[in-house]
């Protein structure tokens, strides 16, 4: 049977260039090639995610979590191996990507929706719901620069959940907003789960991980260190941190 997401022996290298020739002058003046260090952000990852599964990815900073999400979300291409994604994956990577401060909330809804790949026609039908969900009825015609940080986040999330992808990629977004708004976010995620969507969820918040997902993957230094039931993986990860 086809899987929702399949990663087969995926490796992803980034060139970390020290003192990169960012101008032609620097390039011409450099007698040697600029020193480039190859960083293997992911080093041989095999991962299968079933349809409708919610998978949490945990690990220290720089362990490759965001790279993994970027590969599934089609932002990066793997250096080696294969990434097979069946269905449309949409990222909730950072809310409000592409928002413009001089445009009104309403204008930004259409722009951000288009960036996330939603047709303008569909956005027109959803715009009222977005405004209501973000609780911004009174401010929607004001330029975004007059919004508070929380208001921008709320608007970003309200649009992002309209994408209705087959696979939802979430990177640390639940850390924003007040508790009431976070509760709303959890509800929305549960809705996605009930609708049978695949969710890949990256977070440092282990309580959030336990609450949302049933399966967890522990990434360490670009490799999968543990994969299985969320409680087991989270516990061994927590132990791993405290014992150093």
């Amino acid at each position: 049977m086809k899987k929702s997401i399949e990663l087969i022996n995926v490796r992803k290298a980034f060139r970390l260039v020290h003192d990169r020739a960012s101008s032609l002058k620097a390039l011409a003046l450099a007698f040697r090639k600029p020193k480039a260090e190859i960083i293997w952000a992911l080093d041989g990852v095999d991962l299968t995610v079933e349809y409708g599964e919610t998978l949490a990815i945990i690990g220290r900073n720089g362990s490759g979590k965001s790279t993994l999400l970027g590969l599934i979300g089609n932002i990066y291409r793997p250096t080696e191996g294969r990434v097979i994604v069946n269905g449309r994956a949409a990222a909730l990577l950072e809310l409000g990507a592409g928002f413009h401060p001089d445009l009104t909330g309403l204008e930004n809804i259409y722009l951000n929706g288009a960036i996330l790949g939603i047709r303008t026609k569909q956005m027109r039908e959803k715009v009222d719901e977005i405004v209501r969900f973000a609780e911004l009825e009174r401010f929607i015609d004001a330029p975004l620069r007059t919004y508070s940080k929380g208001m921008v986040m709320r608007l970003g999330f309200a649009i992002a959940v309209q994408v209705d992808p087959d696979i939802l990629l979430i990177d640390e977004v639940l850390a924003v907003g007040d508790e009431a708004f976070q509760e709303k976010c959890y509800k929305k995620i549960e809705e996605f789960q009930h609708a049978g969507k695949t969710i890949v969820f990256v977070s440092h918040d282990l309580d959030a991980v336990r609450r949302v997902s049933s399966r967890a993957v522990w990434l360490d230094d670009g490799k999968i260190k543990a994969d299985g039931d969320v409680n087991n993986v989270v516990n061994s990860y927590a132990e791993g941190i405290t014992s150093g």
Binding site: A21, L24, K25, G98, L103, L111, A114
Partner: protein, 297 residues
């Protein structure tokens, strides 16, 4: 199974990329709307600011050419504007496009979308300005009482050729600028130079006469092989009637008795072909690198 020739593979890859771009056409439209909105959001005169700049430059050049250099071409301002407006489109679109990808670098790291919408949307936003300025130019000709030539029917074709050329160059420079930020400076220097190399302030006939005078008449063919020159020449020849210089009105000796040369369609056809090739190559070049933009730090 027979092996497919490589050009067929190239063609099918490009077709796939274009299909994906078409799927994201609403994003292209929204980015154009954003560009147009943001540019004049806080100004009262709005679009007219984008007209004020070329109009003031044209007024200044007209005064100098008419009263200082005394070339003596009747309605010189019309002959200047007809070349200046397509030039302004060329210049502004490329200046904006060179920055377009780098400006959205944060966005590239977060969201998937066909990257070419970034340079293309800046080109299209500038194209809309160009179209509006052409309307103003049309009104200006009516006020001057200049006859509207049949060549105006060719205007969409001229605009399309220039659009292809600008898109192609925009794709090249917006991509290169991600890796080498000198590109935007090089572009602005080259644009300054090409403003003088292109028949905008002066007529292509003067180039011909000047080259003939020093025995390099053949070079005029080379001059017209530059698609930008051919396009600008076509704008003037097709949208305005031939000029007449009364010999007694010009003080520049070499421009006396300089008849308007007939429009040479061959060079426009070559420009169309070259522009199309540049657009295709630009797109292929951009596509070959667009997925490493996000990895660039």
């Amino acid at each position: 199974m027979t092996r497919k020739p490589p050009y067929f593979i190239l063609y099918s890859i490009m077709l796939r990329e274009l299909t994906e771009l078409f799927r994201y056409r609403d994003l292209l439209i929204q980015l154009v709307i954003r560009d147009l909105r943001v540019r004049y959001k806080n100004s009262i005169l709005g679009f007219f600011w984008s007209l004020v700049n070329p109009l003031l430059q044209v007024a200044t050049i007209t005064i100098i050419v008419k009263y200082v250099m005394r070339l003596g071409i009747p309605n010189y301002s019309a002959y200047l504007l007809v070349a200046f407006l397509p030039w302004t489109f060329f210049q502004m679109a490329l200046m904006d496009a060179s920055q377009s990808v780098l400006m959205h670098h944060d966005l590239l790291k977060k969201v998937y979308f066909p990257r070419e919408v970034l340079p293309l949307s800046t080109v299209i936003a500038n194209l809309i300005h160009f179209l509006l300025s052409i309307c103003v130019f049309f009104a200006y000709l009516l006020i001057l009482g200049t006859p509207i030539t049949i060549g105006w029917l060719m205007l969409p074709v001229l605009i399309l050729i220039e659009f292809l050329l600008v898109c192609g160059i925009a794709l090249f420079i917006s991509c290169l600028n991600v890796f080498y930020e000198d590109i935007k400076y090089i572009v602005s220097v080259l644009l300054n130079i090409f403003f003088y190399l292109t028949p905008i302030m002066y007529l292509s006939e003067m180039v011909h006469k000047g080259l003939t005078a020093i025995g390099y008449e053949k070079w005029f063919i080379l001059y017209q092989l530059n698609p930008l020159n051919a396009i600008i020449i076509a704008f003037r020849k097709l949208l305005l009637p031939p000029y007449k210089v009364p010999p007694e009105r010009t003080i520049a000796e070499q421009f006396k008795n300089m008849p308007d040369m007939a429009f040479d369609w061959r060079f426009l056809a070559i420009a169309a072909g070259v522009s199309l090739i540049i657009a295709i190559l630009g797109y292929a070049f951009f596509n070959s690198r667009k997925w490493i933009f996000a990895e660039q730090t």
